[in-house]
Amino acid sequence: MDFRVDEDQEALRAGIRSFCEGRVPLDELGRLSGLDRAFWRDLAEMGVFQLRLPEARGGLGLGMSEAVLVFAELGRRLVPGPLVWSHLAAELIPGAAAGEQVIGGLDRMLPGSEPLLIEHLEQLDALLVLRPDGVHRLDPRKLRARAVATPLDPLTPLHEASELPEGERIAGPEAALRLRLTGGALVAAQLFGIAEATQELATAYAKGREQFGRSIGSFQAVKHLLSDMFVRQELARAAAYAAGATLDHPEVGDPARAVSSARVVAGDAALANSRACIQVHGGMGYTWEMPCHYYLKRTWVLASSFGNGEEHCERLAQQVAAGLGP
């Protein structure tokens, strides 16, 4: 057992970090509009979609541990687009791995009364729907849907579909469960990335901002907000990494439990940290021009993907009751 990020993984992370920083500048988020196909192919070039595809199929042959590191970086930088779905589709839909096809999706494993809101619909070449009986492929162009004029996250455009056709079943129930679990881990990774990014933004701001003749970061009331942000971030990191490592080697624990724990802890961390980030920025934090609100809004989007916190808490409670360890 060596839970550290190894040298190859560190290099992968550094590469994707510098790519994201170059391509998604935080002070130009307001100018990003729509999904750029060239950017999508560049993401593919970086391995975002083909990461776990076997080398024989043109992939990088890496595992979920690496995918978690990459998706944490995407979360850190608010990279827009149906990243998780296109990553999940790499094994199912030709062209997805290379970024030639943009794939979106909808999780209908536990359908409730929720409206059928589909992210990035206009950009999609295919729509995957997870249902208890399997994975279905739908043609997004044939969907009857209206654009939502004011989506919560400015970088996540939405359509509301009036109905969801059956589509073509391209994989069975086991695949649907597996994709949902994998997707959940990648969402947890992005949420951890948000928790880390917002802590760093808030800390940097608190060091530079002066009031009462000194840096506000010297006041304990502010300091303790920031140290709590750091602790939540580290807890989320450990849980997200553990989810990746457990999916890679199920003999070390129950992957479903590890993913649920990561979703709960990373979801809390992202929510609390992006809120605290706004608080530390004061009035500036409430403005559109600062990136803080993008993080909170993206957190709300992610937190509703592949099961929400309540569902994961219920699952964990049932596992404890059944005497199943982590």
Partner: protein, 395 residues
């Protein structure tokens, strides 16, 4: 980022598990809480058993009689000790977890030879003489004075919160050796023989009603200069070594026990009824338990990350502060959930109505010390903010 235990780790686990299965029952039940001589004998006896089997000082170097276990073996050790319900480290706490490790890192060859084997064999019990009535969170403000007289220091002062002082042989003692230097630069770290003349120990009952810690008064106590660990006036640096051990992975076994405690609370929730329904039928309660389980899983993963990062016997990193901060507050929330589940059964500190009141109340009361001892949560937040995040000091 690999959580797999190796074949040799699993072999170590199997051997340890078999050994624990034999020796935990053999060691019998713990003596009454107030019978301190018996408690010392019981805890020290367990330490002796560990030593004889080669399990004492799991992360100590082999040359001092330790196991020198790899990080993954250390985790296996903490998991198995908790799983087997083995005796807790008890009165050996200070010696094994931070006094001894401080000597390993900073002691002279003579100091190591004199103390380390005795600590490992359960023959020497340590206590801590750090805090003073006027030096708690501001530990460096300590006033206990040591004046050099030939080959001795003559020490006068008043220490407080000295856990196990009344059963200890040796103490970790911080003294002021240079009253004119800035407060962090005039401190020395001494090994205090508890049988020296001039030591008075006054027990200070805790809110749990237990006589765990004492005040220690030092009146012209002579301590050989050879008992100084590190250079004169370099004691603050040594103190930080001690504190990092104290805040590091010292809680690892307790975390695993806390998972078992949460599972026990689920069984309680399935038995107690409220408003004609089982407590467990309340979805809000189940989610609360699920949430706590997620946090416990995550903090255990954080321990794995921390242990993987620490070199075998190196000083734990600053992330120990983050771990301690989260773990101690989580512990209190879980204990508080236990109190709520018990309802009025929580009014008795003994089992009533077939409910585990004794254990739950013990945890609820004892956990109040966790966010104060070894640096309060507020001090840990300052450490995280200033030393990890690099925020400016308040003054």
């Amino acid at each position: 980022m690999d959580l797999r235990y190796s074949e040799s780790d699993e072999k170590f686990r199997a051997e340890l598990r078999a050994w624990l299965a034999e020796h935990v029952p053999k060691h019998g039940s713990p003596p009454p809480a107030h019978d301190w001589p018996a408690r010392r004998a019981w805890d020290a006896g367990w330490q002796r058993r560990l030593f004889e089997a080669g399990y004492a000082g799991i992360n100590w170097p082999r040359e001092y009689g330790g196991r020198d276990a790899s990080p993954s073996e250390q985790l296996v050790y903490y998991e198995e000790i908790a799983r087997a319900g083995a005796p807790y480290i008890g009165v050996n706490f200070v010696g094994i977890l931070h006094g001894g490790p401080t000597l390993v890192a900073e002691g002279t060859p003579e100091q190591k030879a004199a103390h380390l084997p005795r600590i490992l064999r359960g023959e020497e019990i340590w206590c801590q003489g750090f805090s003073e009535p006027g030096a708690g969170s501001d530990l460096a403000a300590l006033k206990t004075r040591a004046v050099r007289d030939g080959d001795d220091y003559v020490v006068n002062g008043h220490k407080i919160w000295c856990s196990f002082a009344h059963v200890a042989d040796v103490g970790e003692l911080l003294v002021r050796t240079d009253p004119n230097a800035p407060k962090h630069k005039g401190i020395s770290w001494l090994i205090l023989p508890m049988d020296a003349a001039g030591i008075e120990i006054r027990p200070l009952p805790t809110l749990a009603g237990e006589g765990e810690f004492s005040e220690v008064f030092l009146n012209d106590v002579r301590i050989p200069v050879a008992n100084r660990v590190g250079a004169e006036n370099d004691g603050w640096r040594i103190t930080n070594v001690t504190l990092r051990f104290e805040r590091g992975t010292a809680f690892a076994s307790e975390m695993v026990q806390l998972q078992q405690f949460l599972a026990m609370l689920v069984r309680v929730a399935q038995r107690v009824t409220r408003h004609e329904a089982r407590a467990w039928d309340d979805a809000g309660l189940r989610r609360e338990i699920g949430h706590l389980a997620a946090e416990l899983d995550a903090i255990w993963a954080m321990v794995k990350l921390s242990v993987s990062k620490a070199s075998r016997t190196g000083v734990p990193g600053l992330e120990g502060s983050a771990l301690k901060l989260y773990y101690t507050e989580l512990y209190q929330r879980i204990a508080e959930l236990g109190m709520r589940l018990l309802g009025r059964a929580a009014l008795a500190r003994e089992d009533v109505g077939g409910l585990p009141s004794r254990l739950v109340l013990h945890k609820a009361l004892q956990s109040l010390s966790l966010t104060i001892a070894a640096g309060s949560s507020q001090i840990q937040r300052n450490i995280v903010a200033e030393r990890i995040l690099g925020l400016p000091k308040e003054r």
